[in-house]
Symmetry: none
Subunit: 148 residues, 2 copies
DNA sequence: GCCAAAATCACTCAAAAGGATGACGACAGA
DNA sequence: TCTGTCGTCATCCTTTTGAGTGATTTTGGC
């Protein structure tokens, strides 16, 4: 997030310099201030939208994650139970993919991380769930409302 | 979302008018153009961020809205589907125990058979389901109504 | 800017799981 | 009686998974 603000500032600076230069080109024309202001307004509006999107993208993902629903109970609150068990989002993500029957290698490829990373995450989630096997982890995950 | 753009435009217009007015106040000062541009940049940056947030929040809503209701059948008909897939009772029995998270050894002890026997049964049931891993077999078994 | 949590990756070793194949007895039905 | 299915068990070999440990980088909150 820090980086985004930094990039934002840099681009802003560059654009200001650019507009400062263009200023001398348009200053001779009537109503140049309006044009100048309009340009600045437009560019910074675009930049602002971009920044806003950047900043909220993370939240977007978590919102999408709480989708599935079972017939009996609504199943929307994985977030609460997840944190109660001290399981991170990434770990839950791995658990979900395990529940779909994917191997560690497949999960690694899907998430663009190494197989070792997947193993670390799964080991931790097994530990937190008290499971010794992935099938058991899936079962426990469903019992505790982490999985649909 | 349309409304946001509209509001955005309106606020933008009002602000431009406002800044136009302030312009006459600050125009007498040196470097007023810089100040003017800076003001416009700042306000529209803020507005842009706000718009970006608004837009993504709207996206969030739609994402949450697409909550599917997985059809919940009461689950009574394993017998029919079992035979349709050519899976024997014993094989289904092993599959059920696998779904509970038990290891081959535990299953063997529970059923009083050798671990090798469990492995042959599970291998056959995997083959009939088209699964390569036990987690996948469990998933497929549930999809096909063999497991609750 | 600092700090804690989270995420990433690596390495080793052991255990579990899976594929392939063969075999044998029980039993039901043609 | 012969045949096919089912359940049982084994052996060999490969792949997958899990445990344990340590390390680095990102991220997020204060």
């Amino acid at each position: 997030m820090k980086r985004h603000v930094l990039i934002y500032g840099l681009i802003g600076g560059v654009l200001i310099t650019l507009l400062k230069w263009t200023e001398y080109r348009f200053l001779v024309i009537d109503h140049s201030i309006e044009i100048y202001g309009g340009l600045i307004a437009a560019t910074f509006a675009v930049l602002g939208v971009w920044l806003g999107l950047k900043l909220t993208r993370a939240q977007q993902r978590t919102a999408v994650q709480e989708v599935p629903v079972t017939a009996g109970q609504p199943f929307v609150l994985d977030e609460r139970k997840r944190e109660d068990l001290g399981i991170t989002r990434r770990e839950l993500e791995i658990l979900e993919l395990i529940a779909r029957g994917m191997s560690n290698r497949e999960i690694a490829q899907k998430l663009y991380v190494s197989e070792n990373t997947v193993k670390t995450h799964s080991s931790r989630v097994f530990d937190k769930l008290g499971a010794r096997r992935r099938t058991q982890a899936v079962q426990l995950g469903k019992e505790r409302g982490l999985l649909p």
